[in-house]
Symmetry: C2
Subunit: 446 residues, 2 copies
C-alpha cells in the first residue's frame, strides 16, 4: 500500500514516522516543497532573540535521517499542485521546474497554514517579512544582524507578533505594533489585556490599535508604513496578521471545507473522500467545550493528529476527542495562558455565560518573591459548567492552565472544579490555588 | 445557636470566619491552646532559612483581628481537655491554670495533629526540637542563630525533614538525615527518589537510611545521637518523623475513630455524633481514587473542610468529594510533586497496577535552559484508569501535577488523559507535554 503525504512538517512527518514504525512494509512518499522538515517553528522568535544561537539548533531531525534511518521516501523541493481523486494521483512541480506525479492508495494532506499578507502596495518590499518557515526565520535573523536594524513595525498583535516583539527588544530594536481593530488583544478579558499592554509599554513598545495600514513605501534603506491616521518609519516590517489554512488544492479537488476554509475532517481525520486524510494547521477539529468544529491551528494537535492518521492508515482505529483551545505564550516577563472559551465565544456558542476576574498571588502569604496572578473564568449559568479560563502572571501560569484543560475535557462544573485537590507549597502558590480562588468566586455568580 | 470550635488553626478559623460571615447572629467560641492563630505553618522552613525575615511575617491575621473585626469570641490560651456529649459541654484549663467550661449546640473539633516523638531517652533534651507550631518555629530559628549551630541531625525523611534540610543548609548548617527504614523516600518510585538523593548528596547532606536512633545523649553544648549502627554528634536535632492526629479527646468522648486514629467523619464532616463536626489534620477524609477513607493531613483540605463545616452549620448543605492525595514540595533546586496512588498503594487498594517511568525535558527542543523532568505514572490494567503520578524536576513540576489531580477527580483513563489538550510554548515544555509523553508510554503497557 502506498501512502502519499503532502507536507513534511509536524503533522506530515509525525504520521510518516509512526506509520513506518507500525508497518515497515508500507510505501510512504512525503512531498515537501521546502528543504526543512521537523524543526521547532514555535522556537523561532526565541532563537531570533539570541544572536549567539544558530537557527539550525531548531532542527529536530534533518531530511536525510528520515530517508536513511526511517526509510521514508521524503522528497524535498517537491511542490504538489493538484490532486486527481478519480485517478488517485498527486501531481506537482519539482524545484527545478520538472513536473512529477504519484499514484496513491491513501493520501494525507498536511499542507499546514500560510501567513496572511494583505494585498496592499508595498507588502512585497524586501524589508517586509513574515515568520512562518525556517527559511523566513533565517532571513529575518540575518536581516536584523546585517542591516543593524534599530526600528521595526509589527503589523498584527497575535502570539507571533507578541513573541517577536520581545525578540526584537532583546536585539535592541525599537518596536511599534499596529493593527486595524480598536481593541488590544480582544480575545482576552480587558483587565488581563491591560496587564500585557502595561508590560509592553514598560518595555518601550508603542501600540497603535485602531490603525489600519494602507500601504508601505520605500524610504532610504527602510520603509514608511502609511496608516489611515499616521505614518511610521522603520528599518523593517514584520507582518504577523495571523495564518490561513493551505486548502486551495483540497478545495480544487472538491473536498469539503470547514471553518475558515480549513479542510473538514471527522474524528478519524478523514476528509469527505474516504481515501484522503487531512490534519495539522490546514484541517479543522472538534472543540471539547462546544462539541462543534473549530479551527485553532497549534502544534500539539498537529502532532497528535499526525499520529492518529498513521494509526488509522495502519489499522488501529483512532478517534480524536478534540481540543480545548489551550494555548500559552511568553511576552517579556509575563506568561499568558488560556483554555476553553472566553465570554464572547461562550455566548456565540449558545451558552448563557457568566464571568468573573480575580487577582491572586503566585506564592503563599509571607513567602518572598510573590507576584500577581490575574484570572478570568467563564461558566455557563444554566448548567454551572466551566467553559474557559484565561490567566496572566509572571510565574505559575503556563502549567497551571493544564488543570483547566483537563477539567474542560471532562465537562466539569465550576463547583466540582472548585473541589479539586490542587497542590500547595509556599514557593508555588497560596493554600487556595489561584484557580480555586477563581472558581470559588465564580460559583457565587452562577 | 452556639458553635464551639476546639482549635484555632486552619480548619478552625476558616470555619469560624465563614460561619460568622454567613450568619452574623451565630454565637461562636473558639478555644485555642496557643496564642497563634492563622499563620502559614508550611512557610516556616523557608522563613527559618532566611535570617533577615521576621517569623511574624508568616502571621496572616492576629487573634485581635478575629475578635474585633470578625466578632468571633476567640479565646487563646484555652486548652480544651474533655467533651461531655450528654451535657453538650466542653471543659478545659486556661493557661493560668483556671478551669473553664462552655455549653455547645454544635461542636467542631479542629485539634489538628502533633509531631510524632518517640519515647526514647534524650528526646526531651533542649537541643532536640520539632517543627509544628509557630512557637516551635521561632524557637528553632533563634536557636540556630544564638547558638551558631554548625551541625544538625534530622530524624525522619518526610516533607518537613527535606524542607528543613534546605533551610539548615541555607543557614550554613551541615545536615545528617537519619531514619530506621532501609529505603530513602519509599513512597516515591526508586528512580525519582534517586534524583532527590543525588541532589541532597550534592548539597553535602549525609543520608543514613536503615539507621534506628536508640537514644540521644548530651555532649558538651550539643548532643550525641546514638543509633543501632553508628553515632552522630551534632549541635541540635530536629525530629521530623511525621505527625499523628490529636484525637485523644474525641476518643475519650466515645467518637468513632478512623484510619491512623484520625476522627472519622462523613462527607459533610460530621462525626459519629450528629452535633459534632471534625475537620483538618485530626480528621479523616475520602480519597477520590479509591473512594475509601484516608488520612493525608494537608493545608488545603483543612481550609476547605473548615469552610464546609461553616456551610453545613449555617444551613448550606455541603458535601466534600475528597482528596486526590496531591502534594508538592521543594528541596534545593528540585520540585517534587505527586497526586493519587503509587504502585504499592494501588496494589494495596485492590487495583491491578501497571507503572511506567519516563525522563523528558522541561523546555522545547533547541530552547536553552532545559532540564530533565522525571515522571512515574500508575494505571489500573483492568480498567485503564489513571491512578497516580509522581514527578521530579527543576522546573515545571509543581503546577503541572494539577492536571493529574483534576484527571483523578474525574476518574479518567490514561488513554483519555493522553488526549487532553495541554499547553505548549517552547519556554514551558516540549510540544508533547511531559505528562502526555508519560501517558502515551503507559498506554502501551495497559
Amino acid at each position: 500500500m502506498r501512502l502519499v503525504i503532502i507536507g513534511g512538517d509536524a503533522a506530515g512527518m509525525s504520521a510518516a514516522s509512526r506509520a513506518k514504525r507500525k508497518d515497515p512494509d508500507i510505501d510512504i512518499i512525503v512531498l515537501e516543497q521546502t528543504y526543512d522538515v521537523s524543526y521547532s517553528a514555535c522556537g523561532m522568535p526565541y532563537n531570533i532573540a539570541d544572536p549567539q544561537r544558530d537557527m539550525e539548533k531548531l532542527v529536530v531531525r534533518k531530511a536525510d535521517v528520515f530517508i536513511e534511518k526511517n526509510k521514508i521516501n521524503l522528497l524535498t523541493g517537491h511542490r504538489a499542485t493538484a490532486i486527481d481523486r478519480a485517478a488517485k494521483k498527486v501531481s506537482g512541480i519539482k524545484a527545478g521546474g520538472e513536473p512529477f506525479s504519484f499514484d496513491y492508495d491513501i493520501l494525507f494532506i498536511a499542507t499546514g497554514a500560510s501567513s496572511v499578507v494583505p494585498d496592499l502596495p508595498g507588502f512585497d518590499l524586501p524589508q517586509v517579512m513574515s515568520l512562518k518557515s525556517l527559511e523566513q526565520g533565517k532571513l529575518i535573523k540575518s536581516y536584523i544582524q546585517e542591516n543593524r536594524i534599530k526600528k521595526a513595525v509589527i503589523i498584527g498583535m497575535g502570539y507571533i507578533a507578541l513573541e517577536m516583539c520581545e525578540a526584537f527588544e532583546k536585539r535592541g530594536v525599537k518596536v511599534s505594533m499596529v493593527k486595524p481593530g480598536p481593541v488590544f488583544l480582544p480575545w482576552l478579558s480587558p483587565g488581563l489585556a491591560e496587564v500585557i499592554s502595561e508590560e509592553l509599554k514598560n518595555k518601550g513598545v508603542d501600540i497603535y490599535s485602531g490603525t489600519a495600514v494602507e500601504k508601505i513605501e520605500p524610504l532610504n534603506d527602510g520603509v514608511r508604513v502609511c496608516c489611515d491616521n499616521s505614518t511610521l518609519d522603520a528599518d523593517m516590517v514584520l507582518v504577523a496578521m495571523g495564518v490561513k489554512p493551505c486548502s486551495d488544492m483540497a478545495k480544487e479537488a472538491g473536498l469539503e471545507l470547514g471553518i475558515s476554509d480549513s479542510i473538514a475532517v471527522d474524528r478519524q481525520l478523514k476528509t469527505s473522500d474516504k481515501d484522503i486524510y487531512s490534519a495539522g494547521d490546514c484541517a479543522d477539529t472538534y472543540h471539547v467545550v462546544t462539541d462543534n468544529k473549530c479551527w485553532i491551528p497549534l502544534a500539539l494537535i498537529a502532532n497528535r493528529a499526525g499520529w492518529a492518521v498513521a494509526d488509522n492508515v495502519t489499522g488501529t482505529k483512532t478517534r480524536l476527542q478534540g481540543i480545548a483551545g489551550t494555548s500559552v505564550f511568553k511576552v517579556f516577563s509575563l506568561e499568558v495562558a488560556r483554555s476553553g472559551l472566553n465570554f464572547k465565544e461562550a455566548a456565540d456558542a449558545g451558552f448563557d455565560p457568566v464571568e468573573n476576574s480575580v487577582k491572586t498571588r503566585s506564592r503563599a502569604h509571607g513567602h518572598p518573591g510573590s507576584t500577581p496572578i490575574h484570572i478570568n473564568m467563564v461558566a455557563d449559568k444554566k448548567t454551572g459548567r466551566l467553559l474557559g479560563t484565561q490567566m496572566v502572571g509572571k510565574e505559575g501560569v503556563a502549567h497551571r492552565i493544564n488543570a483547566v484543560a483537563v477539567a474542560l475535557h471532562n465537562k466539569m462544573t465550576v463547583a466540582d472544579f472548585s473541589q479539586t485537590d490542587l497542590a500547595y507549597a509556599p514557593p508555588f502558590g497560596p493554600v487556595w490555588d489561584p484557580l480555586l480562588t477563581a472558581a470559588n468566586q465564580l460559583v457565587k455568580k452562577i
